[in-house]
Amino acid sequence: MKITCTKENLSKALSIVGGIANKSVNLPILGNVLIKADDQKTEIIATNLELAIVVHVRSKVDEPGSFTVPARTLTEFVGLLSEEKIEMELKDNELVINCGKSSTKIKGSPADEFPVIPSVHTGTGFLFAVDELKTGMGQTVSSLAKSEIRPELSGMYFGFNTSYYAGLVLAATDSYRLAEKRVAIKQGEGEFKIIVPGRTTSEIIRILSLVETEDGEKNVRFLVGENQIAVHFGNTQLVSRLVEGNYPDYAQIIPKEFKTTATLDTEKMTKEIKTASLFTTTGVNAINCSFEGKEGVVKLASISSQTGEYNSEVVADIKGDDNKITLNHRYVLDGLNNLKSESAVFKIINADSPCLVTPTNDPNFLYIIMPIRQ
């Protein structure tokens, strides 16, 4: 193998794949990246056996071949190089890198020990606008369940062209709160309901933010196959397995009618909730919210036997009955952070029913918080 490429291209490719290259006890080679050069192209590949990322790097291939080297070593090394042109050659199980006046040998392992990256041959293609999808996934990803107790909740739900919504529905819940975003499908037909692993969703978001397309391509392509999914964007391709199981029918818990609606300033509310959070009992995180229509305020109160207590008000445009609800500040803050809107709408029924939070500028996003029962 002998290739020549620019430092910038190689460095970018390594930063895209580097996140998932981690040493595993069973298979140390997973900490390596695979460099694969054939006549037309060079690919940088990493995998953690749940997902794999392949990046095409523009380069001149003098001699095809492939080899693997530790991802961290290579990434850090390339980052420190000062010359633009990098020559890489495989000699006696070592990767020889010539750059300017320096010459390096990096030890690695033969490519045939590296996992085979499954290719998604068959599947149904979908096209999305990059910005819309990236924002949507970003808004929902923080609601994913962190634990693996219920594997289906540790992944993000993707509903393509379902009877519920003709487009893509993204949903994430840890069963205490739920975020749902609707995204338009630019192209693609067929109904699918899949669960994408949490790790994969973060990597997709990362790729969509990191990869710069040369031709200004603004679309990302999904290929949904059986048990797996492939995402193509610019020079990067991601392949991932899917989470088995059925996603809970969450739509049934979204209330349709409410008794009280409060429209308020997102930033002010965020600040007040943060302040009140200092005075909540750790682990319970309860903040009492009372919606007072006459005064036009939402009163916030928190109390902790250790730190003290806090009372405050946020001005709000309140319609409907006066009402009360107790919420976990962490969930409220997560929701407010993801609204991406100057004002927020809180809708509630009573202290025992879910609270709905929506932005005023986007009908396609909703966030639900389960109340803390007193």
């Binding site: 298979l27 085979v116 499954p118 634990s147 219920r150 397995r241 025992d352 389960m370 109340p371 029962r373």
Partner: protein, 437 residues
């Protein structure tokens, strides 16, 4: 050979040729889904495993399969499927209680409590009911207490503590209560776990920082059933967590049932406050069944399995197998399998010989007159059936795989050196194979 046995044999061949790490990474949770004539379908956990096995081991697997089954393999396909689904489906389709699926939906719709919950430990076997529990002298009190608890959970005896030796019906009673409660109200939220699972969940919750999930899971339920609670002894943090869980449930009048192999007082390294709490409700023991009960149990099992045995033979079995009910059922299964295979009518003699010989070889004894035949059996299992060492150890009374390895090596050597032994082994083989044909 079953599909599973064939696959185990293939794996043990592959295991020799590739590194342990590779083997564990790529072949974990694989199995044969279907084997029809020359067409084999393997299940693999995900596409990564499929890609690797297909590229690196495809030919090897085909060769192994051909060697083991002596059938030509024309087509080997892969399918991504959870091995658990595959085995469960083929073994028993009705093992999961019908409530399991509903449960999930229900808990999601009641999620408005901010503390939705599911009981993942939920694995109550509908097979165990009060109706098919044979009451004997040793289990009369336990049975009555369990029934009372099922009738009025949380009111009559709380906690109910059942103790007794292995295979005497503790788990049966425990699950019977659960089934009865579910029958009355399918929405009842029952947590049925082993003490080990409780400890593991607790540790996981500490590690992942999800102690709230843990609390909700164990505290917002209608009944908590813990099997083999003695395993919690010596695990201080788990004991404390259990103590709080217990108190909360008890205060809310939620039923708690525990089983153990000994009374609370005799569990070493168990905190006093837990001991006293266990003694709070009702402590009942189940003791080994007497002769009549054993005979009655056998009779019931025979009816369940549709294989009636003469009363005399039943009595013989009940006399030979005295220790516990699990062994009793094992003995019965053996008798049924043996006679069905050979197409014979069971007689007192055949039953007697069947039960006496096999028991000893699988037993604990290390006397030469038993240990040597045992080693020869291991040798034959390894060389003729190509069973894996751990499987051989399991088969012969739960021995370690190293014991099996040692036996195989030893007998292999002796067979080479001693003509007499070689002849004997050949004789055994002849008898085995001729009988089979």
């Amino acid at each position: 050979m079953t599909n599973n046995e064939i696959w185990q044999a293939v794996l043990s061949e592959l295991e020799l040729n590739i590194s342990k790490a590779n083997f564990n990474t790529w072949f974990k949770n694989t199995g044969i889904v279907s084997f029809q004539e020359s067409h084999v379908v393997l299940c693999v956990p995900n596409t990564f495993n499929q890609a690797w096995i297909e590229k690196k081991h495809h030919q090897q697997i085909i060769q192994s399969l051909e060697r083991i089954t002596s059938l030509p393999i024309r087509k080997l396909e892969y399918k991504i499927e959870n091995i658990k689904n595959v085995t469960e489906l083929t073994i028993n389709t009705s093992i999961t209680p019908p409530q399991a699926h509903q449960e999930e939906k229900v808990s999601f719709s009641t999620a408005s409590q901010s503390t939705p919950l599911i009981s993942p430990g939920f694995s109550i076997n509908p097979k165990y009911t009060f109706d098919n529990f044979v009451v004997g002298k040793g289990s009369e009190l336990a049975f009555t207490a369990a029934k009372a608890v099922a009738d009025r959970p949380g009111e009559s005896y709380n906690p109910l503590f059942i103790y007794g030796g292995v295979g005497l019906g503790k788990t049966h009673l425990l699950q019977a209560v659960a089934n009865e409660l579910l029958r009355k109200n399918p929405q009842t939220n029952i947590m049925y776990v082993s003490a080990e699972k409780f400890t593991n969940d607790f540790i996981t919750s500490l590690r992942t920082g999800s102690s709230r999930d843990f609390q909700n899971r164990y505290r917002l339920i209608d009944a908590l059933l813990i099997d083999d609670i003695q395993f919690i002894a010596g695990k201080d943090a788990s004991q404390e967590s259990f103590f709080h869980t217990f108190n909360e449930l008890h205060q809310a009048n939620k039923q708690v049932i525990l089983t153990s192999d000994r009374p609370p007082k005799a569990i070493p390294a168990l905190e006093d406050r837990l001991k006293s709490r266990f003694e709070w409700g009702m402590i009942v023991d189940v003791t080994a069944p007497d002769f009549e009960t054993r005979a009655a149990i056998l009779d019931k099992k025979c009816h369940e399995k549709n294989f009636p045995l003469e009363t005399k033979i039943l009595h013989t079995v009940a006399t030979i197998v005295q220790s516990n009910i699990r062994e009793l059922e094992g003995a019965l299964n053996k008798i049924i399998a043996y006679h069905q295979l050979k197409n014979m009518v069971p007689t007192q003699e055949s039953v007697k010989s069947l039960l006496s010989s096999f028991e000893d070889v699988c037993g604990k004894s290390r006397e030469k007159k038993l240990s040597f035949p045992r080693q020869v059996i291991m040798y034959l299992l390894r060389n003729d059936l190509k069973m894996s060492f751990p499987a051989i150890g399991d088969e012969l009374g739960g021995r370690d795989h190293t014991t099996a390895m040692h036996a195989n090596e030893k007998i292999s050597k002796e067979v080479e050196n001693e003509l007499k032994l070689k002849q004997e082994v050949e004789l055994i083989r002849q008898r085995l194979y001729i009988n089979n044909i």
